[in-house]
């Protein structure tokens, strides 16, 4: 029997809305869970997306992708890629695996929200596959690092991080809980799939896979590429939704969620991806700076996507672009200086070669962040290592939960963005984070940053030991300099040579 071509039946088969008889429409699709914004069921049926994948195709393709990722891993197991990798690249892996796998399960919940409560049949169909995608991503990114645990205990954080109060995980959870698991289907589609995935992860995973290939980590590169191809499909869920919302007079609501989540995603990426691209990846293997990457892929291309869909550039766009000059450097500096409270060994990334690269990519770096690294380097050269550790905590932003940091040195630009709300003082790193809070203050007001928890007495004893214990950092997991300070000796040798 001849089979119909896919396009002859796909749209009809996907049209699965019906008129509920035994319950009301709002009982079937509770507005809070659907994010329906008062748009009636019939209006959602024009939702369309470009992939039009069928479930049998999905299963076939996913099976092939999984087989590819696992077979490359198996084939390379004896090649000692990890052991031979630069400690900077090892730090990229540890940071990535600690930050993301458990969040993939949250993303699966987010896709499930759309699969059940989305009012557009096409969205429910796409999100069903997206839900399975995210489970696959969690499992891949838990299994791969699991095999590295015997080699390095810090990889245990891939599985353990989600259950801890580690400051960086509190930051990631604050964003992901907000974006993925506590909003209606429409807000999830706008925030997760359109702002976060289209804007950030889809592109970032492309860059990460390229970097991994450059350093020779084919196993990781292959796995990340395998994930990215899923992302590029299910990231398409949000775009068609924007069209429906705009057609039904909901541009303001769509713009607000998109603006909030782009800002929030940007802050997290400045820490995770920024430091990895500009410092962790060995300088010889860096394809482009974080700023170049952001300008090309996010600022330029994503901006076009926003405008093409009928949305506007976010109000803070110029500020975001200006922040590209310093955000990754400030986060990296915080990671390194507070290295005992990281689950990875943080590279300094300031050899003479690194510094030349940083100055070339970020003109003025030497006069700003370079001055701070000068003090740190001199302390290490003079045997004053104790002066390279902190004795207090950095202030954390009450929205992104990251350190409130900016440009040091003569052009000092650090500042607090304070806000009083119902008798409590909040501190933000930026106008953008403060604005996000002010959009929905009751949603965020109850959360305590790690600093708030410290001051409230949750961390006992109130010292480094108490902090490590609170954050579940066990002996053998606590971070230090990734290269065991070998970079200091290269600088010492260069100075001695110059003096001679």
């Amino acid at each position: 029997m001849a089979l119909l071509g896919r396009l002859d039946w796909y749209n009809l088969a996907r049209t699965t809305n019906w008129t509920p008889g035994s319950v009301t429409e709002d009982e079937l699709f509770p507005p809070d869970m659907s994010g329906s914004m008062g748009i009636p069921l019939s209006k959602w049926e024009s939702y369309d997306e470009p992939y039009k994948q069928t479930y049998p195709e999905y299963v076939k393709v996913q099976r092939e992708k999984d087989a590819g990722a696992y077979s490359v891993k198996a084939a390379l197991e004896r090649s000692e890629i990890y052991e031979k990798a630069d400690p900077g690249w090892q730090a990229v892996l540890k940071l990535h695996y600690g930050a993301f796998p458990r969040a993939e399960y949250s993303a699966s919940t987010a896709e499930a929200r759309m699969a059940r409560f989305g009012k557009a049949p096409g969205m429910r169909n796409m999100a069903t596959m997206g839900m399975l995608d995210e489970m696959r991503h969690a499992q891949l990114q838990l299994y791969f690092p699991h095999e590295l645990c015997p080699k390095d205990r810090q990889f245990d954080w891939a599985h353990k991080s989600g259950d801890t109060n580690h400051w960086a995980i509190v930051a990631a959870r604050h964003l992901f809980d907000d974006m993925m698991v506590t909003r209606g289907a429409s807000e999830v589609a706008l925030g997760l799939t359109f702002a976060f995935e289209t804007g950030f992860t889809n592109m970032q995973f492309l860059g990460l896979a390229a970097d991994a290939a450059e350093v020779g980590d084919w196993s990781f590169s292959n796995m990340i590429s395998s994930i990215q191809t899923d992302e590029s499909r299910h990231a398409q869920i949000g775009g068609p939704l924007v069209a429906i919302l705009l057609e039904n007079g909901k541009k303001e609501e769509a713009q607000r969620i998109v603006d909030m989540m782009i800002w929030r995603a940007w802050r997290l990426f400045s820490a995770v991806t920024g430091a990895a691209m500009d410092y962790f990846t060995p300088v010889a293997d860096r394809k482009m700076s974080f700023k170049e990457f952001m300008l090309e892929w996010i600022v330029s291309q994503f901006e076009r996507a926003l405008l093409d869909l009928g949305l506007d550039k976010p109000w803070y766009w110029d500020q975001l672009v200006a922040d590209l000059d310093h955000a990754s450097h400030a986060m990296q500096m915080g990671f390194w200086f507070w290295r005992p409270i990281m689950w990875w060994n943080n590279p300094a990334g300031v050899t003479a070669e690194d510094r030349a690269w940083l100055e070339e990519k970020y003109p003025g770096w030497s006069e700003s962040f370079g001055t701070v690294w000068d003090v740190i380097t001199d302390n290490l050269l003079e045997g004053k290592k104790e002066r390279t550790y902190p004795e207090t905590l950095p202030m954390l932003c009450n929205m992104c939960q990251l350190p409130i940091a900016s440009v040091p040195g003569p052009a000092w630009k650090v500042r607090d963005f304070p806000l009083e709300y119902k008798g409590r003082s909040y501190h933000f790193c930026s106008e953008g984070c403060q604005w996000c809070f002010e959009q929905e203050p009751e949603r965020y007001a109850g959360h305590l940053s790690l600093i708030d928890r410290f001051l409230a007495g949750h961390i006992q004893p109130p010292n480094l030991e108490g902090a490590l214990n609170y954050m579940s950092l066990a002996p053998g997991e606590i971070g230090d300099d990734a290269h065991n300070y070998a970079w200091v000796e290269t600088i010492r040798a260069a100075r001695q040579k110059a003096a001679a």
Partner: protein, 84 residues
Amino acid sequence: MAAFPLTSNFQGDFVLQLLPVDTENTMDEVAAAAAHHSVGRRVPARPGHTLRVRRQGASELMSRTLKVSESGLKPMECIEVIWE
């Protein structure tokens, strides 16, 4: 006497830091406490200069002998510690 947390924004440093002080501390003592966490760690010392305290964004410096309890500062308020 009571513990009093402030937020230190030290001139030339890259990050705000939690600064535990005491209500009886003078602004000179507050500046010295802030310097402990920044100078010689990430900010080079400036011999011959004095450290002064002001509220974030203010142009007026606080008196060097003013006590925290007399300053009107709120817990965790951000102070700027600058070289003079």
